[in-house]
Symmetry: C2
């Protein structure tokens, strides 16, 4: 299944939108009762609800895929946890060794934006870098989970870009402040359930700046798989349906270039994951 | 004013409690309508509400201070942001230089517990350390705030202990995983409003293990004041009423001792801040 949080008009949600959860059926998105995928995933029978809606579309309750406007699919996760240094090639370009444990840091939901929204970092545009990432979304409560339990809990996958202000990130030893600017992390466009997306078999993760490819990695080179990350995190903190974990970025970030290169005002960042889709976000400094 | 979130019985709140917000009037806590201080602080007129209740106690609506059981005063903050390396003496014991920028990392609300609750780290008790800290609580929305605006927004102060699993903290470059174990961060017992607590003039921050003092610092040596931290954080992310910022710990942590010393199963950690009160938390490994 392909699920989304669609923008239905102006409203009081994040970004000033009203939204509805939806499930894709062919060339249509069928509207669901929940206002977004966070609300949908809170129902333990969310898979059955969505599958039933996809197979029994009613007139008036859908919009064409071509007319869809995507909010961040999970606009209100309680936890957004990120893994750094998880692709062998990116680890090497940053000059580090393959890790024994995942390097983790936290974001808040305020960082998230959807497809087409502007990454507005006015006044802070000195060293803004891209990090295209596969994001895994939790579909059931997890605490002290085995990797098999974690794998079974996965709601699905989406694309993210962990846009990073390298000047802020490197002001101190802790990366958080360079990764936590409000409305700087594109997420989406859709959530694809595991039967249609298998990162361990390998899906391509690309980033383009103004249409020129800058990152092209494959999730089969992940040091820690999505399930391994969820199991590890659940050792110290409870994960709930709708929580989001970013699995790290492949090689090709601007900071790793010689000389380093960063985004400029007006650039357009495209984040593309095979089988999921593409996020297009202009930057404004 | 002295405000608290009191445990009123069993319930479905964090820790399995039912709670009510309350304000102290002499030797009584007067019950308020809100279930906790997070709900109270969401009302823009929370100061007036609490002051009115404190001055007009009705029979039946109070309990003696001596009978109060304290939940974490803010049990559900959207953001819990921590500053490391903020006391000159602690910075020196860790072998670092005085910083130009605050070192920040994030926690989630799931880490918080109240006075008297057990720090249960069963299976993870190898290198568990104490970090007594003054916590500042946000009382009004803040974004791109000046230091004066940040100061005016402060709801008050409380005590915290940023209990740290040094083995997990030092597995990678990012401290998050050693600081984010669920139910490991005592907070409370009460929230004291700024007219009764002035950290810039100096309040004593102490930690005791089994009654023996291990930390004794004073907030007048903070490199970044509470208001400076809120203003800085608000540059990158929105702060909302009820959000909590931990201001860092003074010298005397176990990791800084020669040789290092850590908590043992059954130890009791006391966190005490002058003018606020004392948290007593047993540890269980």
């Amino acid at each position: 299944m392909r699920l989304a949080t669609l923008i239905t008009g102006a409203g009081d949600g994040p970004g000033g939108f009203a939204t509805r959860a939806a499930v894709q059926a062919g060339d249509r998105f069928i509207m669901l009762g929940a206002r977004d995928l966070n609300e949908l995933l809170e129902s333990p029978d969310w898979r059955e609800q969505a599958a039933a809606a996809a197979s029994a579309a009613l007139p008036g309750g859908f919009i064409p895929v071509s007319a869809a406007r995507f909010a961040a699919p999970l606009p209100r996760p309680g936890k957004v946890i990120c893994c750094g240094l998880n692709y062998a090639d990116h680890i090497q370009e940053m000059g580090r060794e393959l890790p024994e444990y995942p390097t983790l840091f936290a974001k808040y939901a305020d960082t998230l934006i959807g497809d087409d929204e502007t990454i507005d970092l006015t006044g802070h545009g000195a060293k803004v870098d891209w990090e295209a990432e596969l994001a895994v979304v939790v579909g059931a409560p997890l605490r002290n989970a085995t990797e098999a339990e974690a794998a079974a809990s996965i709601a699905g996958y989406t694309a993210a870009n962990d846009i990073s202000l390298r000047d802020w990130q490197n002001r101190t030893l802790q990366w958080f402040q360079g990764k936590a600017f409000d409305r700087s992390t594109p997420l989406g466009p859709v959530l694809v359930t595991p039967e249609e997306c298998d990162p361990e078999a390998g899906v391509r993760v690309r980033c383009l700046v103004n249409g020129v490819e800058v990152q092209n990695g494959n999730t089969k080179t992940l040091v820690f798989s999505a399930a391994a990350l969820l199991a590890y995190i659940s050792t110290f903190t409870r994960l709930r349906p709708g929580d989001v974990v970013l699995t790290g970025t492949p090689g090709g970030v601007g900071m790793g270039a010689v000389p380093p290169r960063y985004l400029n005002d007006g650039d357009v960042v495209t984040t593309e994951i095979e089988g999921i889709g593409r996020l297009t976000n202009p930057v404004k400094f």
